[in-house]
Symmetry: C2
Subunit: 533 residues, 2 copies
Amino acid sequence: MWFYAAQLNPTIADLSKNREKIVTAIERAKKEGADLIIFPELALTGYPPQDLLFMPHFLDAVEKEAKKIEAATGVITALVGMPRRHGKKLYNSCVIYQNGKELKCYDKRLLPNDDVFSEKRYFEPGNCEVIFEIQGKRVAVLICEDIWGEGPNDPVASLHGKGVDLLLVLNASPYYLGKSDLREEVVKRVAKQLGCQVFTCNQVGANDQLIFDGYSVLIDKNGEIALRLKGFAEEERLIDDSKPESLKIREGVEENFEALKLGLFDYCQKLGFKKVLLGLSGGIDSAVVAAIATAALGKENVLGVLMPSRYSSEDSIEDAALLAKNLGIETLNLPIEEMHKSALQTLEVPFEGLNQDITEENIQSRIRGLLLMALSNKFGRLLLNTGNKSEMALGYCTLYGDMCGALSLIGDLPKGAVYDLANWINRDQELIPKRSISKEPTAELRPDQKDVDTLPPYSIVDQVVIGYIEDHLSPEEIAKRGNIELSLVKELIRLIHLNEYKRRQAPPILKVSHKTFSAGRHYPIVERWTIPK
Amino acid sequence: MWFYAAQLNPTIADLSKNREKIVTAIERAKKEGADLIIFPELALTGYPPQDLLFMPHFLDAVEKEAKKIEAATGVITALVGMPRRHGKKLYNSCVIYQNGKELKCYDKRLLPNDDVFSEKRYFEPGNCEVIFEIQGKRVAVLICEDIWGEGPNDPVASLHGKGVDLLLVLNASPYYLGKSDLREEVVKRVAKQLGCQVFTCNQVGANDQLIFDGYSVLIDKNGEIALRLKGFAEEERLIDDSKPESLKIREGVEENFEALKLGLFDYCQKLGFKKVLLGLSGGIDSAVVAAIATAALGKENVLGVLMPSRYSSEDSIEDAALLAKNLGIETLNLPIEEMHKSALQTLEVPFEGLNQDITEENIQSRIRGLLLMALSNKFGRLLLNTGNKSEMALGYCTLYGDMCGALSLIGDLPKGAVYDLANWINRDQELIPKRSISKEPTAELRPDQKDVDTLPPYSIVDQVVIGYIEDHLSPEEIAKRGNIELSLVKELIRLIHLNEYKRRQAPPILKVSHKTFSAGRHYPIVERWTIPK
């Protein structure tokens, strides 16, 4: 039995286009002589369709497109992921078409409801396995979370002793660093457990904050990898189990780069934007974002805007210009001095006799936000946010200022990971000016300002951010792991909670870690959590 | 048997203060001779604690405070809502203390997971009823959603024939207009079904977007109302079932006013803010917000900022000033002409030869946002957003401009409901200038601009917004119900989806309808849903 895998990149709710992709893949599979074709989880709607699933007329439209797929299958057996109504209930299903008819349906049994998942909001769990025969082989079907199960309701366990030759799994498994390894380990365990071949067909492409990495895999019955499809790209191919082969998964930092590139590309392309812009400060964050954008969209589509102020150093202006030159992107130079002066003048009366404080720093940041948004509006360019996870955690950023943007590229990377990415980007040639990497981080919003005037060194900040946000550690555990003073850990955690209000209005952040601000992390703004002494 | 009800307003995660409130109420109940005291659902943490529930050291702290409550109970029986760990599982529980010891625990069986609820993210469902005897009466306990059940797992049905004399229900039921009536209907049905008295103890107060209205009720075994506690205020009292009495629920528009007042008051008070500010345009939206803020916080704590531009009419400036005079609030006058000019001048080169468009309108709105945020930063005043639901739906608002603010007061009210509120506010005297109500809505961002130049009349917009967002109707149903052209309905729905990106960065909106942007509504930004022809 030969089967064909379609690792597709659907667009959320673009039903006719997604259906077209599915039908085209079916035609190709038939031409290549496949007996069966498998698609990712919810391939027809894209994953996750969210509250669109509550709209009856959306589900009507899904059913119409499903009928067209059914009609197109012909002799091939097709496994298509889609939402399926049954009475008043909705299921996350794999519809199995054969000879132009619906043969069976498999309904996902384990519905993830943590982190970025909220499937229990929409779906009822299925309650039985599906096994069918094709060319003398017994084929079972599961969907994504089903293979991560444990305990008495484990869908994998229910397949035990049922003589399954091949387990096919429809996936929509979002990327974070290390996720594909983790996923493969689970598939290997399942293959060994059942003593059969397992193939997982994963969605690829980005939808809002979620990036799906692809990397569909075939694991043999000994739990060895037999074949791995591409990462971060669509791929369709006949899975001929006689030819073991394997693409290497990249190193972590490169994986993140590819993920962010795809995340940005799809965000623009699926919304119909070709061009982007961003502010270039001469610092490392905007440099890394510019480099990713250039790689994703082409240098002709990226505009870097320099907005020097009275506090900008010559070095910063030079570094920003040099970066743009190295990347080959267009620049604009819009000094903010005049607007800065007129803002202070407008506020002269109410501010009379008061000391300068953070207010005056935020004004500069917000003038830059205003100018960037004006350029975005006038030229139809999408504005990229350039903030990192460490400053987003501690609120070392200005709401409606440097927090502006349609999409945050590095908002899930702590400062240290931004340095790693910068060094990786420079691996062959100096794209990001050395000085942007080596100089001390500064916001340049007052004379001779350095980030360390306000924050502890990023090496400490990052450990607290990673420990508290990503690893759910207690302050004591973070202090111990990082050899940091406990009182400092607690103070940083206090800042993390205090700044929830800023993050509530932050741009969507591309997810590359296992816990991301703005995706799958829900904290109250109004709360008084203080860590007990 | 006499029992005591504590309709409390807890602050999320303010564990020691919430525990103090609980213990104080227990002391009062004992003094009044009560045998039993009941608190709302999750009274110890406040509802909803969200992802704080994932932190083991938060749950440790909850358990410490619970021990203190246990020690304080003494002779009284206390029903306290709190999260409860059992092994690796977490339950939404009512712990029943008696004689200073834990007598029993009831674990909520039906976990709501729709709209603003995501209890399946955190909790395991309980699986058995709890009935105990006190003073010869058989008392059963349920929690909130448990009484809304249907079907085979209905917790109410499980109490059938068990000889229950009194059913006590711990609630944290968020407000929307009409919700308290709906809730009482359910309680009445349950009382008749079981043939026993039912008392629901509801949380009161606001946490982020959710406003809890209180209105705890005692329903007799015939399904008649015996007693209703206050709406939108804390109340503690001995429930003496020999004295039937009932506070009247207010009319809808007054209910909304009270809800918004409490929502704002708690947002400020729980965060530690006393003072607020807002921009006054002379229009109806900012007038209504100013009136609510004045009622909630006192006129001495509200600052109205006039920011006239070259396009502001004399009328608007006069109306804004008159409103401030009527309310007795302070004002500031900050003309934006200088900043407007300097912004256009800064952008002169890149914009050379291009026509004016929405960009120039947004610039003015963003200058105002910048000034308001500068005042907010300098004076520690919380900025109130003044946008309504209709403009938020269609994106007739400027991101980082008039969309600035820590909290949106009327972002869940369609324009028509804002008029209703304005007229209600003026019921005894003209607080809001008549002309702000009677004149045609205008953004005044270009000469002689009117909202109807861009949008259909609000009477039509509102029907589509309510039909599509709140009532989940199809375009055809909306067109039919409102006698609106179908193509116009579809165009407005297209705009609603298109502007999801703006709403993703909007301030939190106080919830007063059953479907609110930014609370319990999850739509993708990147999608291509188009209603089939």
